[in-house]
Symmetry: C2
Subunit: 172 residues, 2 copies
């Protein structure tokens, strides 16, 4: 088995987005539930955390134009010289998840990309090659158009991401 052979940790990418109703720094319910699913169903306990690395990807969809060359890591240096306010908000937003990882000794990498979430999540999967991609999917509580948008992100990833994909349907 993996741990018996000194294999590297299992790398789980979780795509996270801000609440469509409240905005930053509040995460969407669907991505919070997806993240909690990873902690509760896969990691399960602190003693098991050393076998995993969480890769937190937050994609911001700019209102004007698409710039998918932007990629900002959540380091102190990046925060000191953010490209703009939106990216800084994204980095602060990731802290919600990073803190929970730190609290249980779970290794975590987090970064922000700007562009089309559907394309960028799949291209980041190709680049980073996680063992599993986890994305949330809302069922209720969003407007008709929001539902279509969010569903299409999870549906697109499920079809096109080049790794196993677990879509976690939100309870609300």
């Amino acid at each position: 088995m993996a741990a018996d052979g000194g294999e590297p940790p299992t790398r789980i990418m979780v795509a996270v987005n801000e609440s469509s109703k409240v905005g930053y720094p509040r995460p969407s319910i669907s991505c919070m539930e997806a993240f909690e699913w990873v902690l509760n169903k896969i990691i399960r306990s602190k003693s098991n955390a050393s076998g995993f690395t969480i890769l937190l990807l937050h994609v911001q969809a700019p209102e004007k134009g698409i710039d998918d060359s932007d990629s900002i890591y959540a380091s102190a240096a990046d925060i000191k010289s953010p490209k703009h306010k939106e990216v800084l908000l994204g980095l602060e937003f990731l802290e919600y998840f990073q803190k929970q990882c730190r609290d249980i000794g779970l290794a975590c990498e987090a970064w922000v990309k700007r562009g089309d979430p559907r394309k960028l999540i799949c291209s980041e999967v190709k680049r980073v090659q996680p063992d599993l991609l986890v994305v949330g999917c809302s069922r209720r509580g969003l407007s008709f158009y929001q539902k279509i948008l969010i569903k299409s992100v999870s549906g697109h990833c499920r079809k096109n991401a080049d790794c196993p994909v677990a879509v976690i349907k939100s309870s609300v």
Copy 2:
């Protein structure tokens, strides 16, 4: 987290099928790789096995007609009075996976159903409600028609199963 609150084990259903080339008792490469993915990437070590239960579902597609009411559990009583030879072969086939679970102290339930794999995997998910369904998917080494058949099972489950689904693409 789950283990901190005395939560029940994470239940992972793995759909397994026999080799399309060799037949019983040899498993298909794609389902072996899916099963190994669960052991290596999720369970990882013997010490973590107590947090999980594996649910092994083997669906046999009868050549004549569909009887989806058949459901045989891999118990000694069932083996003593098998409904027919095919079911007995299916129960023996499951032993390949059950042995690996026993070897690492991983709880395991295994059963055979007879009927359309696409429908039965989804209906069993609805009945059993696992936390994750894992299915294999072949890419090469099968005939054109076999590829379509196997792909359609994983594709159908990915779309229709009422739980998160990880499709593990075979390396061959």
